[in-house]
Symmetry: C2
Subunit: 234 residues, 2 copies
C-alpha cells in the first residue's frame, strides 16, 4: 500500500517559511485537507497554495468558531472518514496545519481520530511563536530561563500567578481579551517589556506599539512577548 | 550597500527541515558563520551543509562549554568584528543557528552585539521543541493549556512549583541532570505521562522509554515532554 497520511506544518504565514520537507510532501498529495472557517477563506490553504501539486482533490474542514471544541468533534469525525476512504483508494493525504501541527493546532483532534487506524507522519513547522520573536527582534528565552506560553482567555489571577513565576512569556489568542491583558501587564509593571505583533510574516503583518493597540482591531493571530530582563540576552 | 546580515534557523537536524527562505538566503552567502564546540564539529554546519553555496568563506565561532556565558562574550565580540569587516567588504553574511535562532539560541548574544551597528534579518526555524513533539506523536498543548519550557539545570523546588502549575511542559538541556529530573517526575506521579527523545530528526535520533534511559548516555540535545492529560487533545 503506497497510501500515506501526513500532517504538515505550513509555517506562520510567509509561503517561503514552509520547510523543504513539507513542500516536497505536499507535491505528492492526491488529497489536501485543511481547516477553514465557516465563513471566509482558509489561512492554511492560502499559505501553502503556491506549493500545491497541479492536480489534487481538496477537503476543507469547516471548524466552528465556538469556544467549546466538542461540537467540532463531529466535523473531525466526518473528515477522518473521508480520509480513510481516500487511503482505501490508495491516495496520499496531506493535512495542512498553520504554524506547527502540535503547538495548539486543531490538527491534533483529527490526528487523534486517524491515529487509531493508520500511521500519520507529522512534519513540524515554524511556529508563530518563533516567527513573532524573529520579526520583533525579541529573543524568547536564554540560558536557564523559564518560558511560559499563556492563552489570553485564562482568568487574570491564573495569568498573574504564571507571570510572577516566569522569566519570559508569550500571550497568545489575544483577540477580545487584549485590553484586559494590557491592564494586567501594566499592573504588574511589565508594559515596557511587552511587544506586540499581528499576523507575523503574513502579508498583512502589523507591529503596533502596545500602548496604541485598539482592542477591536486585534485578530486571533496576534501575540504579546515579554521578557522580564527586557532582552533575553542581558 | 548590498551587504546584509542574516541569522537563520536551520531547523532541528534533518537538512530538509530548513525553510525555503533560509535555504535561499544561505545560497546568497559570501560568509557563513556558525557556532562550533571547542572540540568536535559544528552541528549547525552539518545540518545546513547540503545547502551551502559552491564558494563561501566560513567563520566558526568556538563557544566554550562553560556554564557561565560571560567568558563567551569575548568570543562573540571578536566574531562580531569579523562580521563588521565582511560587511565593509560588501559581503552577505549568514549566521547559522540550530533550531530556531531566538529559542534559547546562543545566536542572540551575537545578535545583540551586531544589532547596535547594523540591521540583522532573523529567519525563524523549526525548533527542536516542535520537532520532538512531531516525532513522539505528542501534541504539546491545546486550547487554553499553559505550556512551560523548563531547563533541567534548575533546582528541583523551582521545577516542582512550575510543574504543579502547568498543563504541559517540556524539559530541555537534560544531559547530566536526567536522573534527578526523572526522580522528580516519578515523585510527582507524572512518569507515565512523560516521553523522551534524543536528537529529534537527526540521523542519530533515539526514542527511549523514559524508564530505560541511562543518564551517562543522555546528550544535551534531548527533551522530555509531559502533558498532564497524557494527550493534549483529551
Amino acid at each position: 500500500m503506497k497510501a500515506k497520511i501526513y500532517g504538515i506544518g505550513v509555517g506562520p504565514g510567509d509561503p517561503d517559511l514552509i520547510t523543504i520537507k513539507a513542500k516536497q510532501t505536499l507535491a505528492e498529495a492526491n488529497l489536501v485537507v485543511y481547516p477553514a472557517p465557516e465563513n471566509g477563506s482558509s489561512i492554511a490553504k492560502k499559505i501553502a497554495a503556491p506549493h500545491f501539486p497541479k492536480t489534487c482533490e481538496e477537503l476543507p474542514v469547516y471548524i466552528p468558531m465556538s469556544t467549546n471544541r466538542f461540537p467540532a468533534m463531529k466535523i473531525y469525525k466526518s473528515a477522518s472518514e473521508k480520509i480513510f476512504n481516500a487511503v482505501l483508494e490508495n491516495k496520499t493525504v496531506v493535512i495542512l496545519c498553520e504554524g506547527d501541527p502540535f503547538f495548539y493546532g486543531s490538527f491534533m483532534y483529527l490526528f487523534g481520530l486517524i491515529r487509531k487506524r493508520y500511521n500519520v507522519e507529522v512534519i513540524p513547522g515554524v511556529s508563530s511563536l518563533m516567527a513573532s520573536a524573529a520579526i520583533l527582534e525579541t529573543p524568547l528565552a536564554a540560558g536557564d530561563d523559564i518560558l511560559t506560553v499563556l492563552p489570553a482567555p485564562l482568568a487574570d489571577d491564573a495569568l498573574e500567578k504564571q507571570i510572577n513565576m516566569a522569566d519570559a512569556f508569550a500571550i497568545i489568542k489575544l483577540g477580545r481579551h487584549f485590553s484586559r491583558i494590557r491592564r494586567l501587564l501594566e499592573k504588574l509593571g511589565l508594559l515596557e517589556n511587552s511587544v506586540y505583533i499581528e499576523r507575523a510574516t503574513m502579508k498583512n503583518e502589523r507591529i503596533v506599539n502596545i500602548a496604541d493597540v485598539v482592542e477591536s482591531d486585534v485578530p486571533y493571530f496576534s501575540i504579546i512577548l515579554v521578557h522580564k530582563r527586557n532582552k533575553a540576552w542581558l
